[in-house]
């Protein structure tokens, strides 16, 4: 839990400590001293200046505002002392942006320094000049930059090249109009200095990527960077470059598409020695090239895996834990893609006692993935060692890993023994995790029930506290009631302590288990069943209450039917859902050697739009599913509910929807569809058994009103919203126009708000949302994403006016938040539109 911050501890709100002066007194003191020194030519002036400058810089670092010294600092900058100059440049670079007027003062001396005899000073001055970041001073940059690019000294050229990039970020048009990109291109292909070439490359990549969306020409230039002559030219010079520049180039080469396999082998032969480079980033960059080049050649691709294994394993075991984490994340990705190829390397994934937990966690996942018939025994033995780890999250993780291996592998016999040993370890968390696993195991391999039940029967329910584990234990008690002599009595004592059980999930399971047990051992259970139903009916939790009532009525209706519903013969679960789609995995793979791999999600899910070049954005839009037509058909076929007259749903159906909402993505079938008793009944058992491991157990205190979203509905009902704005219900816009418009307009409004629970449930089929919004005259341009992140682009048009509203809406179903960004032709009505949009969204999913 985050502790409250203590602002006084931090220098940003200065505290009176000896080393950190707080008051303005010191600053004005400095001002005075600087002024005295400014004109002085006495010997030793530079030394005293240095001391003063140091003080200024140290104040600046700790966050004290020393911008008032600007003019004095500039006055003192006339010096031959290079260290003084550097300090002054640093100061100026920091404060020019907030003092654009005073920044003008510095232009003069910086421009003069740009013509100094010393290339060092020329370079430094040019760098500082470009770092001022003041838009109205760009005219002063063009001249010195032009000279800098032609300077005889490589150092100055190297600085000038990055200077061009800085200029581009301040004023793109000035940079392009001065024809700087063309000059950079020339330098890139001809300069003898490798760092100049490398900087040209980075600068051009950034500039042309950003320009590509506006001009055809720039996008051609961007393509040209990846053309054969350029790539070959760079590859041939690669070894002259320093390690960082090599990283940039390798990243580019990975995007190059060779024309035939000979070319591919040539490139790989040329780059093979890079796998021996001491810099891990170079090695990873090379690995990326190899993997990308051979994607379409299955055999070679596999050989590449074999080839890169050794260098990657070396990297993981050398350097700091942070470095090996970065490499391990990539190895993790490869292992997940081709576990078989790493099956014999499993010992490399054994954890060392002192490794940080983020490293251990990745290793555990890899151990799980590479387990196969030949190594399962060793891996499971090793994992069992970790179960006793002091690091409890890791211990839990390892037990889960054992379970996962059991569910995917062959040597189940040995694993079951291990799991049962866990149960006997008598550590709370070990028992808890093991119980959940045994339960899952039994769902897949019912044939092991005999061995497991014998051990599970010995566990005292009093020693199990965690809701998940308790629920698992209770599930087994119900499911295998006939094999456990004690079952009725254990359940009885649990029912007696009904009021002390805080988890509604456990109480729900208890109800079902009591029912199941009753069908098998009626005489022993009758009394307990009565007590359980009575307790359930008076339970304050809506789900528990409803289930009890449902069982009660079902039993009253017909006991045989009740048994068919509650305890039908079950089929073993054979396949477990994969959490990540192949498409997402492939996108992560394409972004090899970047943050995506560490976060295990593609970049569009975590990079903020506003910080990115426009180009990537448009690319993404193209990948989203365009149009709502096809969605409409599905929606029409499946969805009955969500109309106004469904306000009075029967309680059973309500329970359905909430239980399934806690199940995460377990369902794809329509939930509102079944209004007949039979279908809701058959789903009931499903919902019960699959809610044993819910993603988000519904909060205990939620009352019926909350569930219906009537009380806490955050937005006003549509009728009460200001009807000042009318939208054209038949607005139309094709995705390309949308894309263009989205780029042109600035963001008028952005807001975050909560989505009601009903909306989130209905969001499992996002098409419903599109249809719902269309009903409110808000149309969808594109949609996409995966739970928990959904993303929509909407547009709407003002009635009888051409004015458009564009919306980007990101809904996170796990935090139930919607983030909305609105761009509008007519900004004055954006507010009204937001209100409308919000109210439209808030009624989504509400009956």
């Amino acid at each position: 839990m985050p502790r409250p911050s203590h602002p006084s501890r931090f220098p940003s709100s200065p505290s009176p400590s000896p080393s950190q002066p707080s008051g303005k007194g010191e600053v004005s003191d400095l001002k005075l001293q600087l002024r005295q020194l400014a004109g002085s030519r006495a010997p030793g002036t530079d030394d005293s200046k240095r001391d003063l400058f140091k003080k200024v810089i140290s104040y600046m670092t700790v966050g004290i505002d020393v911008s008032s010294l600007f003019s004095e600092m500039v006055m003192c900058s006339a010096t031959a002392d290079i260290v003084l100059k550097k300090m002054c440049y640093l100061y100026v670079g920091n404060y020019a942006k907030v003092n654009p007027d005073l920044a003008l003062l510095t232009i003069n001396f910086l421009q003069k320094d740009c013509k100094d005899d010393d290339p060092m000073i020329r370079g430094l001055a040019l760098r500082s000049l470009c770092s001022l970041r003041v838009a109205n001073l760009v005219e002063y940059l063009v001249g010195p930059l032009g000279l800098g690019l032609k300077d005889a000294n490589g150092y100055v050229r190297m600085v000038a090249v990055i200077g061009v990039l800085k200029l581009y970020h301040i004023s793109a048009s000035t940079c392009v109009d001065a024809d700087f990109p063309t000059m950079l291109k020339h330098l890139m292909l001809n300069d003898p200095d490798s760092q100049v070439v490398a900087n040209c490359l980075t600068a051009l990549q950034e500039i042309w990527s950003a320009e590509a969306t506006n001009s055809e020409e720039a996008s051609k230039e961007r393509e040209a960077l990846l053309s054969k002559p350029v790539i070959y030219y760079l590859l041939n010079r690669l070894k002259e470059f320093n390690e960082w520049a090599q990283c940039t180039m390798l990243d580019m080469v990975a995007k190059y598409v060779p024309s035939d396999s000979n070319e591919i082998f040539d490139i790989m032969n040329l780059l093979e020695d890079r796998l021996q480079h001491a810099n891990g980033a170079v090695v990873l960059g090379t690995v990326k090239v190899f993997l990308q080049l051979t994607l379409s050649m299955t055999d070679v691709h596999q050989q590449v895996y074999e080839r890169i294994k050794a260098p990657l394993l070396t990297l993981t075991s050398s350097g700091s834990p942070e470095q090996s984490y970065a490499v391990l994340s990539h190895l993790h990705l490869l292992v997940m893609r081709a576990p078989i190829l790493f099956a014999s390397d499993y010992k490399h994934f054994y954890c060392q006692y002192n490794e940080p937990s983020y490293v251990k966690k990745l290793k555990l996942e890899m151990l799980t993935a590479v387990a196969n018939a030949s190594n399962t025994y060793e891996i499971v033995t090793e994992l069992c060692e970790y179960a006793a780890n002091v690091d409890i999250p890791i211990a839990r993780e390892s037990i889960r890993a054992v379970g996962k291996i059991a569910l995917q592998q062959y040597d189940v016999n040995a694993i079951v023994d291990r799991l049962l040993q866990f149960l006997e370890m008598e550590k709370d968390y070990v028992t808890a995790e093991a119980l959940v696993l045994v339960k899952d195991l039994l769902r897949k391999y019912p044939q092991w029930s005999h061995d497991c039940i014998a051990v599970v029967g010995n566990i005292s329910s009093k020693n199990v506290q965690e809701p998940k584990a308790k629920a698992a234990l209770i599930w087994m008690l119900g499911e295998y009631a006939q094999d456990m002599t004690d079952a009725p009595y254990v359940l009885e004592s649990l029912v007696e302590n009904w009021d002390e059980e805080h988890s509604s999930e456990v109480r729900l399971h208890l109800l079902t288990a009591v029912m199941k047990c009753f069908f098998r051992r009626a005489p022993e259970m009758q009394k307990t069943l009565g007590a359980a139903l009575a307790a359930g009916l008076s339970d304050f939790h809506q789900d528990v209450h409803d289930r009890a009532l449902f069982y009660y009525r079902l039993l009253k209706y017909d006991v045989a039917t009740a048994e068919r519903v509650v305890n039908p013969p079950k089929q073993a679960v054979s396949v477990f859902a994969d959490t990540q789609s192949n498409e997402v995995k492939d996108r992560i793979f394409d972004e090899f050697n970047s943050l995506s791999v560490v976060y295990q999600k593609p970049s569009y899910m975590f990079i903020d739009k506003e910080h990115r070049g426009v180009f990537e954005f448009s690319e993404e839009l193209g990948n989203l599913s365009i149009g709502v037509e096809s969605a409409d058909n599905i929606v029409a076929a499946q969805i009955v509910g969500a109309t106004d007259n469904d306000l009075l749903l029967s309680t059973e159906e309500k329970e359905e929807s909430t239980v399934s909402s806690s199940n995460g993505s377990a369902y794809s079938a329509p939930l509102y569809g079944g209004s007949s008793l039979a279908s809701s009944l058959s789903q009931s058992e499903l919902a019960v058994s699959s809610s044993i491991t819910p993603a988000n157990p519904s909060p205990t205190g939620l009352s019926l009103d909350d569930l219906l979203g009537l009380v806490s509905s955050p937005a006003p009902a549509p009728s009460s919203s200001p009807p000042s704005l009318k939208l054209n219900p038949k607005a139309a816009m094709d995705p390309a126009t949308f894309q263009q418009k989205w780029r042109q307009l600035p963001i008028s409004l952005s807001q975050e708000f909560f989505v009601n629970p009903q909306g989130l449930v209905a969001l499992m089929t996002p098409q419903i949302l599109l249809r719902h919004m269309q009903g409110q005259s808000i149309h969808c341009a594109a949609s996409g994403g995966q739970a928990p992140n959904f993303k929509f682009f909407f547009f709407a048009q003002k009635a009888e006016e051409p004015s458009m509203y564009l919306v980007e809406c990101v809904i996170n179903s796990s935090s139930s938040k919607a983030q909305v960004k609105i761009k509008a032709d007519d900004k004055s009505t954006a507010e009204a539109f937001l209100a409308m949009f919000q109210s439209a969204l808030s009624t989504f999913g509400m009956p």
């Binding site: 839990m1 911050s5 501890r9 931090f10 140091k54 260290v83 000073i121 430094l124 760098r127 970041r133 000294n153 490589g154 190297m158 990055i162 800085k166 970020h169 003898p192 200095d193 900087n199 980075t202 990549q205 950034e206 002259e240 320093n242 960082w244 990283c247 990243d251 093979e272 020695d273 890079r274 021996q276 480079h277 001491a278 050794a310 070396t314 075991s317 050398s318 350097g319 942070e322 470095q323 984490y325 970065a326 490499v327 990539h330 054994y350 060392q352 937990s357 983020y358 006793a388 780890n389 002091v390 008598e426 050697n593 970047s594 943050l595 995506s596 560490v598 976060y599 975590f606 910080h611």
Partner: protein, 438 residues
């Protein structure tokens, strides 16, 4: 794009800013606060070195008592960013001459700002080589060396050297005595099960070199690795000599080594930088000679007593000896009293790490000293079996021994002036993570 760092911060453990350098405008100025609020002040600290807050990603590393934080807003290359931090710290160390900590930063912050300006521009790494930077970043305040020379001479293109092909060596070095020192340092990692099976064992080695050589020498290093020897006998069409050869799993080299020649001829040839550097790193998993065998027997006698017997066998040559041997045997937290009997060295109980610590300063080869201890525990009412034994850990150094069996066969120095050189070679094996479960 490789890094494109938006900002870099140095913080002390309290969260005070020591250095703050903003490179790009695409992140807000309150990034330090975000880092303090969401990482430093929460349990998150140390759980993962890469974190996302808002639209920005934070890479952080703790080095002695300083946090170095890089903030990026793009999909950056993580490996590159961490390597950059590591290299930057190495650079600072070479400037301060030793330690890198809060005090060193406070004392040298102007220098650090100067260096940060040079090693990264607009978020892209530039040149980080200490050899080159030291040519023109000094705290002397004089003008840079290439301009202080008389103007009639053409300005030597020092920056071509800064960025150019042989970026790691200056020309015109002269030494009276030409010497080369080679240090082969291996650390051996072991994970042994309680039944005495080796679960995992490997050696990571590095060859450190110290060169005091004049001019531009060409060096060639020969090792007893299998592939290299086979290649050599092929080239000379002569049968390979018998004798111990070893198989290197993987090798990485300093940038000065000609990798193309290594791949074609399997020889390590290079023009070395001046002074100290790491020539190569290697990893070996097959045929590792473990220097020590540890045979523990731990008996729990009831709830309040334990008997610990540990025998350590040294399995290297009898003429060699290990230094600084430390064996740490974990005991439960509630340990109250201990008594020891050791055949050599000294043993005591260290309550702060819950271990029995047995130290032997000089440990000859082919011996097997023993330690036996009785441990009394405070009886507690807490759950039984609450203690799961962490592994026994061991530290040691064995000079003149390599766990991999690696040997330097020759080191040839060739320079056009044809001077004689003196070569010194040392071997040492250290414990990496040497763990024995019990």
């Amino acid at each position: 794009m490789p890094v494109a760092a938006s900002a870099i911060y140095f913080l002390n453990l309290r969260g005070d800013v020591l250095i703050n350098r903003l490179y790009r405008d695409d992140v807000g100025g309150n990034m330090v606060d975000a880092f303090r609020m969401h990482i430093m002040q929460t349990k998150e600290l140390g759980t993962c070195p890469v974190r996302q807050i808002g639209g920005c990603s934070f890479f952080y590393m703790r080095i002695s008592n300083v946090y170095i934080v890089i903030v990026v807003s793009s999909n950056a290359n993580v490996a590159c960013a961490f390597k950059f931090v590591v290299e930057a710290v190495a650079l600072f160390k070479s400037y301060f001459g030793g330690a890198f900590d809060e005090d060193a930063i406070r004392n040298n912050f102007v220098l650090i700002y100067e260096l940060l300006d040079e090693i990264m521009d607009f978020g892209y790494p530039q040149n980080l080589s200490p050899e080159i930077l030291k040519l023109y970043i000094t705290q002397e305040g004089v003008r840079s060396p290439f301009s202080s020379k008389p103007a009639d001479k053409p300005v030597p293109n020092a920056t071509l050297q800064v960025t150019g092909a042989v970026g790691w060596r200056r020309e015109g070095l002269v030494y009276k005595k030409n010497e080369v020192f080679l240090d082969i340092v291996e650390s051996v990692n072991l994970l042994m099960s309680s039944k005495g099976n080796v679960l995992r064992c490997d050696v990571t080695g590095k060859i450190l070199m110290k060169c005091f050589l004049s001019g531009m020498p060409d060096l060639k290093l020969g090792l007893n690795d299998k592939i290299g020897l086979e290649k050599e006998s092929q080239l000379k069409s002569r049968p390979a000599k018998s004798g111990k050869t070893i198989e290197l799993d993987d090798v990485t080299f300093h940038q000065c080594v000609n990798l193309t020649r290594f791949n074609s001829e399997k020889t390590v040839s290079f023009v070395p930088p001046d002074g100290e550097f790491e020539l190569m790193k290697y990893r070996i998993t097959e045929g590792v000679n473990l220097p020590f065998r540890v045979l523990p027997t731990i008996k729990e006698l009831g709830r309040t007593r334990m008997e610990v017997n540990v025998k350590v066998k040294s399995v290297f040559g009898a003429k060699m000896f290990a230094l600084g041997v430390v064996i740490k045997i974990p005991v439960p937290k509630q340990t109250a009293k201990t008594s020891f009997q050791v055949s050599t060295g000294r043993a005591k109980y260290n309550a702060s790490i819950d271990c029995l610590v047995w130290k032997i300063r000089k440990f000859p080869g082919q011996t097997e000293p023993t330690m036996s201890a009785e441990v009394e525990l405070i009886s507690t009412m807490a759950e039984k079996k609450s203690w799961t034994r962490p592994p026994i850990q061991m530290e040691f150094q064995v000079p003149m021994f390599t766990a991999s069996g690696l040997r330097v066969r020759f080191l040839k120095v060739w320079e056009k002036s044809g001077y004689n050189t003196v070569e010194w070679v040392r071997y040492i094996t250290k414990a990496g993570s040497y763990e024995i479960r019990c």
